[in-house]
Amino acid sequence: MRDYVLLYINGKRHQISGERVFQPLSDFLRYDQEMVGTKVVCAEGDCGACSALLGRAGDGTLNYQVFNTCIAYVFQLDCRHVVTVEGLKGHNGLHPVQQAMIEHFGSQCGYCTPGFVVAMAALFEKRHDLTEQAVRDGLTGNLCRCTGYQAIINATLSIKPDTVETMAERFPALPMLDAFDQHSQSSVLIEYPESIQGKTIMKRSFIPSSVQEAVLLKKQHPDAVLIAGGTDISVQMNKEKIDPQTVIILPDTPELRVLELDQENLKIGAKVRWSELEIFCKDKLPELHKILKVFASDQIKNCATMAGNIANASPIADSLPFLFVVNAEIELTGIQNKRWVEINRFFHGYKNTDIQAEEVITQIRIPLPKPEQFLKLYKVSKRRDLDISTFTAAILVEMVDDQMIKDIRIAYGGVAPVVLRLAKTEAFLKNKTFDLENMRTAGKLAREEIAPISDVRASRDYRLRLSETTLEKFFHEVSQTE
């Protein structure tokens, strides 16, 4: 058992233990290491000012991706190499993205700029040529209030990918890989006594080395918070909504990292990150791919997982309506056995799931839609990209002779405390002609089946309207009237 996190920052080795691991990396960088280039604005992963590059071992090298340091706690970053804006300058002076940002007037007030240059650098790690759309997709996670982004796009497009020194070239990977190899076999427990108002509690952070160990720990510490990507838990900790005494980090075991297509089923391990799934499903599940594009920023997708999205049990989790209509199954691993639960039976109420005290989600199994089925996914939000949904929907229809509805499944999110399957609407449409009139009538029925509220994102009225119009929109899209 090890009592420290091994973390490299800009090539420099750090062994961090005790209280210092219980803080976001951004705070560690700024206030412990006095590396103030990394800025913090929102402390919730929505602005990208704190972006840095996260180097993880894979295929005999370190692969670098952009991530938000404000929602990555130090205890999650064992055996990683982080490159901050201070580490971008290479052997030949400024990184090309830095030079381009200067020349193209890509900075005004400069506060978002370190985050931007890091995110831009990530785009060139593979030395691919970039389209303008790829630049926009890659920088979705960074907000700028001054420039209107055009100059930043221009700067990024001006760079020749083959002139870029990648991070793997800049920071020799082998010594770090060796150190990671030596360290990753052992479990980690870091604890420190925290006293608040005269009371002392022992704060603990575990990194088990197997699923079995994780399950056992969960049994021993029933109130422990389990972390996969941590992109939501960290926000809750930053905003002081939760203050877990014990955290357990799910390890990157082969079992949890599985991502494969097994006949008609897509198998996704609990530690598969959204960005990996996005690439994997591009051809196999284009409709899901389309949603993943707008669903979150690269920073988030490079850390967050589908298992986390499910376990978090939010009624507006973007993946849920899709999982509902395809009848996905969730693998729960306990101490003795594994069991599979259908997603349609998994949620009991608001933030209340079927997971038992000594179980963890280990895998998600998704039956792919059949060729005769049409699948459409919808996400309505205040802003198209990187925004929490106001309303989500998934509709899966199977037709006979292109006009009779043989089977239809409709799931809406953001309209009730849990994602809903619209049983009455589905029943009404079954064996009906697929036409505008029926879909409109179905829309009226859908309205009756939901109980949305007014909140910061939208009014109840807007959600009611969307529940109606979405079915009409679906009709037009499937029947391909413009």
Partner: protein, 791 residues
């Protein structure tokens, strides 16, 4: 060759991209520095019944807790009307209003103490909407009016009259660097304060007055800001004072840095406006009369609200000649944080109303709104006087209309929009062109002054200090360019120093787009003073009795780092050699420059005058697509054309145009402030308050400038550029209104600001249901009754 007119990167660009540029919270902590937090009102409106700090005081690491009773000087301040408290005394008038300042050794202790402060309140119902404030007759300042002609006559004789009401919601500045300040106590009463402020002189003043010391005891510094947009013109006062008070009492450095959440919750924003209007027009669509009553939601204290309302009235005409007008402006007092400056300063709200009216007239008359805008536009020789009596001189507005219509292929694309809307069952397109004319100068006359300090050192390098602050807009590089050209030397030899009240006194806020105008001119004045002495000295140096060349300063040239007499160009001195020789000859190598804007004045009582030195103008064409089923809005293309005079730095200025425009697009589309019924802001972080991101940029975005041959004034014949482009965003909003008109039958579709997806779908639904007439409801700030935590 000079440097003015060249695209030279931002002064701090290198520091920005490497992360080496320091902002307030990046300054290394002093050894004994304290962290400052605050405890704010738990209600939007109420009286403090009891306040118990005992438990909080006992937290280990707490260095002090301070209430209004610990303020040695005045607890009251305000830029225009002194009606705002640093710390609430008894009455709390907005949610989160600071009551207790907490000083602690570390963040943990500060947070812990905050949780242990016990307060009980007598809660009163908050007044949140304009309607409610009107009902209760709660106002800030007096009602303002601007009148011209005979409105009643125009209404009586009109072919048509339309009336209605219009609502525009507020907007959060969303500067990325939240409010921050550090105070360093000195000997005796000395206090140095570094703050992220557009207005160091005001910080100096409020700190001195709050601490009960002379202004001469306080040095107020601002190196740079991580964005401001008006949000740091007055709103830095409270955080800066918090740090100063702690430093004053503890004699230790003290740092306050708001979290983004706190910043958004308790600082003021762009004002929500409700406007009632009545417009008379001819069959052809020419406006003959306009009555518009503007009501703004001012929040709990005056702040800059009355000046902002003044600018609204002065921009209610936008670019249109209005022969008969009655405009009034009333600021309503409500229980929100005091609303404040935000790029445009009331101008956007004024212009939005007239642009709404033009869209409505066009829909009513079934004409292309472009033609109506051309018809009503200010003329060159006639119809060129504003309602307040200023001549719109040196205007090229008609040329802007023509050129942009042509370069954007307006007519052809408009026809395509019409045909698209006939074809598509799922989407709607809309298109609009809106102009913008923005008056440059502070409408408070005395603020139109600036001073600068220029010091040349013995090696020929120069330090320049002005009262202007750098918030990203590129002021520093522009002033360096101006100074470099005056001495004919390279930019590398000139450094812009942090803004400090020690070097520049009684300065105006860097605001009203006038930063470069005022400070550039002041710097120029200082340079010219030094130059005069240098040139006189050089003329003596190059003179030769034998050659019959007598000293003549007019013949001396300073260019490319070289000094020479044009009659003997073979003899040269390097600039730095000249400086050293001049120094040895006891020539003064430093100067203070001063500038005041000439020829402007405005009588508030009569609503008449020429408050503006000149106008910055522009036009924009926008095309949008709307999803008929979700209200989702996509901006297809925007073309901007601006007259910004002779640009000092085109690279910087294009950035201002693009950035200002997109910021405005946020205001008119996706940015929506939503509050709870108790007055607490719900959309207080980027998770729930959505500023435009990189995907929201128009698919096609053309930004160009046009030459104005008539513009001969201002520093290097440039024009102010900061605020004006923001208001071009109204083209996007008007394009949405245009799109709705294709499905509204004979009705005029109503559309508020912001045209959020929800607002658009609501209007589409109304359009489809003829039983609900448009405009049947008043609109206000969305107040949510059920608090939802399902994130």
């Amino acid at each position: 060759m000079g440097t003015v007119g060249k695209a030279i990167p931002h002064d701090s660009a290198l520091g920005h991209v490497t992360g080496e540029a320091l902002y307030i919270d990046d300054i290394p902590f002093a050894k004994n520095e304290l962290i400052v937090e605050f405890f704010g009102s738990p209600v939007a409106h109420g009286k403090i019944k009891s306040l118990n700090l005992q438990k909080a005081r006992q937290v280990e690491g707490v260095a002090g807790l301070y209430t209004f009773q610990d303020i040695p000087g005045h607890n009251i301040f305000g830029s225009i009307l002194a009606d705002e408290f640093f710390l609430a005394e008894e009455l709390c008038e907005y949610f989160g209003q600071p009551i207790v300042i907490i000083a602690a050794e570390n963040r943990k202790a500060a947070k812990q103490a905050k949780k242990l402060i016990q307060i009980t309140m007598d809660e009163y119902p908050p007044v949140l909407t304009i309607e409610k404030a009107l009902e209760k007759k709660q106002f800030l300042g007096v009602k303002r009016e601007i009148k011209r002609g005979h409105l009643q006559k125009a209404l009586d004789e009109a072919d048509h009259i339309l009336e209605g009401s219009f609502f525009s919601n507020g907007q959060e500045q969303f500067y990325l660097e939240s409010q921050a300040a550090i105070a360093y106590p000195g000997e005796n009463n000395e206090m140095t304060i570094h703050s992220s402020s557009q207005n160091p002189s005001e910080i100096q003043q409020i700190v001195a007055e709050g601490l009960g010391i002379g202004l001469h005891e306080v040095v107020s510094v601002c190196k740079r800001m991580g964005g401001a947009f008006g949000g740091k013109e007055t709103q830095t006062a409270i955080p800066a004072f918090m740090a100063a008070l702690v430093a004053f009492h503890t004699k230790r450095p003290a740092r306050v840095v708001y979290t983004k959440d706190d910043d958004m919750k308790i600082t003021g924003k762009r004002h929500p406006y409700q406007t009632r209007y009545k417009v008379a027009f001819t069959r052809q669509g020419k406006i003959t009369g306009l009555k518009a009553d503007f009501y703004s939601n001012g929040g709990a204290a005056a702040d800059l609200s009355t000046a902002i309302m003044e600018r609204t009235l002065l921009h209610a005409d936008n670019a249109y000649f209005l022969p008969n007008v009655e405009l009034s402006g009333t600021v309503c007092k409500t229980n929100f944080p005091p609303n404040t400056a935000f790029r445009g300063f009331g101008g956007p709200q004024g212009m939005a109303v007239i642009e709404n009216i033009l869209e409505e007239i066009a829909i009513f008359l079934k004409k292309d709104a472009f033609d109506l805008r051309t018809l009503n536009c200010y003329g060159i020789e006639e119809n060129n006087i504003t309602p307040y009596g200023q001549i719109v001189s040196h205007s090229i507005l008609p040329t802007l209309f023509e050129n942009l219509a042509e370069s954007s292929q307006y007519k052809a694309r408009y026809a395509e929009v019409v045909s698209f809307n006939q074809r598509s069952k799922t989407h709607l397109r809309g298109m609009a062109m809106t102009p913008m004319k923005f008056g440059i100068s502070f409408t408070t006359k005395f603020l139109n002054q600036g001073n600068a300090l220029v010091n040349i050192y013995k090696d020929g390098t120069i330090q320049v200090s002005t009262g202007g602050t750098e918030m990203g807009q590129g002021l520093n590089i522009k002033i360096r360019q101006i100074v470099a050209d005056e001495f004919g030397i390279d930019l590398e030899n000139i450094k812009l120093m942090p803004t400090s009240t020690e070097k520049n006194n009684n300065t105006s806020p860097t605001a009203a787009s006038a930063g470069t105008d005022l400070n550039g001119m002041a710097a120029l004045d200082a340079c010219q003073k030094i130059r005069k002495g240098l040139v006189r000295f050089a003329s003596q140096h190059f003179a030769s009795r034998e050659e019959g060349i007598f000293p003549s300063p007019d013949c001396i040239h300073l260019e490319n780092g070289i000094v020479y007499d044009e009659r003997r160009p073979e003899f040269t001195l390097e600039f730095k050699e000249l400086v050293m020789l001049a120094y040895q000859a006891q020539v003064n190598l430093g100067a203070r420059g001063f500038y005041k804007t000439p020829g402007i004045d405005f009588n508030r009582e009569t609503g008449k005058g020429s408050p503006f030195f000149y106008f910055t103008t522009g036009c924009s064409v926008a095309e949008v697509t709307i999803d008929r089923f979700t209200g989702d809005l996509r901006i297809e293309r925007c073309d901007l054309l601006m007259d910004i005079g002779e640009s000092i730095n085109p690279g910087i200025d294009i950035g201002q145009l693009e950035g200002g425009f997109i910021q405005g697009v946020g205001w008119v589309t996706g940015e929506e402030l939503r509050y709870q019924e108790n007055g607490e802001l719900l959309s207080f972080s980027p998770t729930t308050y959505k500023i435009p991101n990189i995907q929201d940029l128009p698919r096609v975005f053309n930004v160009n400038t046009i030459k104005n041959p008539h513009h001969h004034i201002n520093v290097r014949r440039s024009k102010a550029v900061g605020e004006p482009p923001l208001m071009l965003c109204l083209s996007v909003w008007a394009a949405v209104k245009n799109a709705l008109s294709y499905v509204s039958g004979n009705q005029i579709p109503k559309l508020n600001i912001p045209a959020s997806n929800e607002e658009i779908l609501k209007r589409l639904t109304q359009a489809a249901d003829s039983s609900v007439p448009f405009g049947s409801e008043e609109n206000e700030i969305p107040l949510i009754s059920t608090l939802n935590t399902k994130i």
